[in-house]
C-alpha cells in the first residue's frame, strides 16, 4: 500500500497531472471552457477531500457537501458585502432589504474582511465536523451509521439555510456578487487567473494530502480503516485520529466550496444537497478511493464526461445511461478505480523488463532478537 505511492509510475502520474493542468490555458483561451475546466478541478479537490476520510480512514462521509456549501457561502457573504453601496445604497445586501431586514446580522459583520472570510471558509466546516465527530467517534459509531448520521446532518444544514431566507437568501442563495480582488489580481470567473487559482489549489491539496498519508498519522489512519479495535491496543486514541481526518477533509472541502463560488459567481443551497454529496462518493470510487490522485482524477473524468455528453445534442436522451454503464464497468472490472490501471501497466512493464525470472535474493539466517533498547535509542534520536 505505502510502496505504491513511492513507486516511479505514481510519481510520473502526479507530475503528468500537474503539468497537463498547468499547461492547459496555453492551448485554451476560451473563457467559457476555462471556467468549465476550473469547475472540474474544484470537484477534484472535493473528491480528494473525501478520499482522505473515506479512502484512508474508512469514514464514509455522505455529508461532504455540508463543508463544500458552507465554504461556498462564506466566500459569497464576503463578496456580497462589497456590493452593498452599489446595489442598495447602504446598509444591508439586496436580498435582506427585500426581506425587511434593516441591520446587518452580527454573523455577517466579520465578513467585511476577506482574510476572515477565507479563514472561516475552512474553519467553519472544520469546527462543525469537529463537533459532530466528537460525539460520533467518542461513541465509537462506525461504518454505515456514520454515513447515515452525516447524511442527516447534510439535510439539516440544508434545511436551515433554506429556512433562514432573510439571512441566507433561502432557495435563491446569494447572487449578484462582486469579483474577488486579492493582491491586485481580479479573479473573474472566466479568467485564466481563476483557472490557475483552482489548479494550484488542487496541487496544494495533493501535497497536503500526501504529507498526511505519508506521515505516521496517515499510517495509523489506514490501520484504523483496516481494524479499528486492534489499533486501540497499541495506545492510539482512535477517535482523535478519526476526527483529525474528518476535520482536515472538511476544511479542504470548505476551501473547494470557496473556489466554487468564484467560478459559479453565486452560492446556492443546491451546493449542499444530497445529490452532490452522493456524486462525490461516485467520483471517489470511480477514480480509486485508495489514492488521492485517483479520487481527484475520478471527479475530473466523471464530471468532464458528464459535461460533454450532456452538452452534445446527440446524447441528450442517453447520457445518463452511458454514465451508468461506465460506473458499472469500473466497479466490475476495476474495483480499485481507474488509477489501478497505473499499477496494472507497471506490473506488465516490470515483467517485460525482468524477462521472466527475477534475481534470487539470498536468505539470511535469523539474527538475534533486536533488543527493545535498540528501538528505544531510535526514539531518542
Amino acid at each position: 500500500m505505502s510502496t505504491r505511492h513511492s513507486s516511479r509510475a505514481w510519481i510520473y502520474g502526479y507530475i503528468a497531472v500537474c503539468v497537463v493542468m498547468l499547461a492547459l490555458p496555453l492551448f485554451v483561451s476560451d473563457g467559457y471552457l476555462l471556467n468549465k475546466f476550473a469547475r472540474y478541478i474544484i470537484f477534484g479537490i472535493l473528491s480528494l477531500a473525501l478520499c482522505l476520510s473515506w479512502g484512508y480512514a474508512g469514514i464514509l462521509n455522505l455529508g461532504q457537501a455540508v463543508s463544500f456549501g458552507l465554504g461556498s457561502y462564506c466566500m459569497a457573504m464576503a463578496l456580497k458585502l462589497r456590493t452593498i453601496p452599489i446595489q442598495t445604497g447602504g446598509g444591508v445586501p439586496d436580498f435582506m432589504s427585500w426581506n425587511n431586514v434593516k441591520t446587518l446580522p452580527w454573523f455577517w459583520e466579520p465578513f467585511h474582511s476577506y482574510a476572515f472570510a477565507i479563514f472561516a471558509g475552512m474553519a467553519v466546516p472544520a469546527i462543525l465536523a469537529f463537533l459532530l465527530g466528537w460525539f460520533v467517534f467518542r461513541a465509537r459509531v462506525t461504518g454505515v451509521y456514520v454515513a447515515i448520521i452525516t447524511l442527516a446532518m447534510l439535510v439539516v444544514v440544508n434545511l436551515l439555510i433554506i429556512d433562514a431566507q432573510s439571512y441566507t437568501g433561502g432557495f435563491n442563495g446569494i447572487t449578484d456578487l462582486t469579483t474577488l480582488k486579492l493582491f491586485g489580481i481580479a479573479f473573474d470567473a472566466y479568467s485564466k487567473a481563476t483557472y490557475y487559482l483552482a489548479a494550484f489549489s488542487l496541487i496544494a491539496a495533493l501535497l497536503i494530502g500526501l504529507a498526511i498519508i505519508k506521515s505516521k498519522t496517515g499510517l495509523v489512519m489506514q490501520a484504523i480503516r483496516d481494524d479499528e479495535m486492534r489499533v486501540r491496543y497499541f495506545g492510539y486514541d482512535v477517535a482523535h485520529y478519526q476526527n483529525f481526518a474528518f476535520c482536515v477533509s472538511a476544511a479542504i472541502a470548505g476551501f473547494a466550496g470557496m473556489l466554487y463560488t468564484l467560478v459559479m459567481e453565486f452560492a446556492s443551497p443546491t451546493f449542499l444537497n444530497v445529490s452532490i454529496s452522493l456524486s462525490i462518493v461516485i467520483w471517489c470510487a470511480v477514480g480509486g478511493r485508495a489514492s488521492l490522485l485517483g479520487a481527484a482524477l475520478g471527479a475530473i473524468v466523471v464530471t468532464g464526461v458528464q459535461g460533454s455528453l450532456s452538452d452534445s445534442p446527440k446524447f441528450l436522451d442517453t447520457w445518463m445511461l452511458i454514465m451508468g454503464a461506465l460506473f458499472i464497468a469500473v466497479v466490475l472490472f476495476l474495483p480499485k478505480g481507474l488509477v489501478s490501471l497505473i499499477d496494472i501497466f507497471e506490473q506488465r512493464f516490470r515483467k517485460q523488463a525482468a524477462g521472466g525470472g527475477g534475481p534470487l535474493t539470498p536468505t539470511a539466517l535469523p539474527a538475534a532478537a533486536p533488543a527493545a533498547s535498540e528501538l528505544r535509542q531510535d526514539e531518542v534520536g
Binding site: 505505502s2 533486536p370 531510535d378 534520536g381
Partner: protein, 249 residues
C-alpha cells in the same frame, strides 16, 4: 507489591457471570500461564486487564494505577500489550507498516503528523521482521501471509510495541509442533525483560515456558503453583473431570 493485581473482580455479560470474585496477581518479570477448562473466564480475565470489558466489582491495579475504568488506549499507554486469539493484523498494510503501527511510543495525532518514515526506525523494524522469519515478506501486504506467518507477525508487533506487560491469548493456536517450540523459545528469551501472561491449552508448551501456573474455573481462581503441584492438585483434577484431565483440555 505485584505488578498486576486483580482483587475480587466480577464481570457480567447481561446476566451471565463470566468472572466472579477473581483474585489474580503477577510479579514483575514473571511468565505466568493461565489455564482452565472452556468457559473458565481466561480470555475475559485478559479482557478486563486490557480494558476491553469493565468489571462491575473489584479492582484492577497495574503498577500502582487503578486501570479498571480506563479505555483500551489508556491501558496500552501504561505499558500493557495484548495479543488476541484470532491473529489480528492490518491485512491491507505491509509487514513493515504493521510493525510501524505497533511501534507506538508516541501515540498523538499531531506528533505523528511530523513523523515521516525514518531510515533508522526502518532498520529496527527490518531486524524484527528478520527475527520472526518475515524478512522476505517485509514489503508484502500482511493479507498475503499464511496463518503461521500471521501469528509471528503479531508476535513481532508485540515486540515492537515493547510493553512491560504482555497478555497473550493462545499464541500457539494453529501452529505446527515446530512453530510451537519456536514460540516457546522466544517466550523464554523474553522472560525477565517483560512480564508475560499466557493463556494456553497446550501442556507441552506450558511445561517449556511456565514457572507458575494459575488455574481458573467458573470465573475464579482455583489453584496456583508449579506444573508438578498443579498436576497433583485434587480440585484441578475434578475441575477437568470428564474432559480427560488437564492434558486432554
Amino acid at each position: 507489591m505485584p505488578l498486576l493485581d486483580l482483587k475480587g473482580v466480577r464481570v457480567e455479560f447481561s446476566g451471565f457471570v463470566a468472572l466472579s470474585d477473581l483474585d489474580f496477581a503477577v510479579e514483575k518479570g514473571e511468565l505466568r500461564c493461565l489455564i482452565g477448562p472452556n468457559g473458565a473466564g481466561k480470555t475475559t480475565a485478559l479482557d478486563v486487564i486490557c480494558g476491553k470489558v469493565q468489571a462491575v466489582a473489584g479492582r484492577v491495579v497495574y503498577a500502582g494505577h487503578d486501570i479498571g475504568r480506563l479505555q483500551e488506549h489508556q491501558v496500552s499507554r501504561l505499558g500493557i500489550a495484548r495479543k488476541f486469539q484470532v491473529p489480528s493484523v492490518f491485512r491491507e498494510l505491509s509487514v513493515r507498516n504493521n510493525l510501524d503501527v505497533a511501534y507506538s511510543k508516541r501515540p498523538g495525532v499531531f506528533r505523528n503528523l511530523g513523523n515521516w518514515r525514518r531510515a533508522d526506525v526502518d532498520d529496527g523494524l527490518a531486524k524484527l521482521a528478520e527475527f520472526v522469519g518475515l524478512k522476505e515478506q517485509f514489503n508484502q501486504s500482511a493479507g498475503a501471509l499464511s496463518h503461521g506467518q500471521t501469528q509471528w507477525l503479531e508476535i513481532a508487533m508485540l515486540l515492537a510495541q515493547d510493553a512491560e506487560l504482555i497478555l497473550m491469548d493462545e499464541p500457539t493456536a494453529g501452529m505446527t509442533a515446530q512453530e510451537t517450540h519456536k514460540t516457546a523459545e522466544l517466550l523464554n528469551r523474553l522472560k525477565g525483560r517483560h512480564t508475560i501472561v499466557v493463556v494456553e491449552h497446550d501442556m507441552g508448551f506450558i511445561k517449556e515456558v511456565a514457572d507458575v501456573i494459575s488455574v481458573m474455573h467458573q470465573g475464579r481462581l482455583l489453584a496456583e503453583g508449579t506444573v508438578a503441584e498443579i498436576e497433583r492438585h485434587p480440585e484441578v483434577k475434578s475441575a477437568y473431570l470428564g474432559s480427560g484431565g488437564i492434558h486432554g483440555a
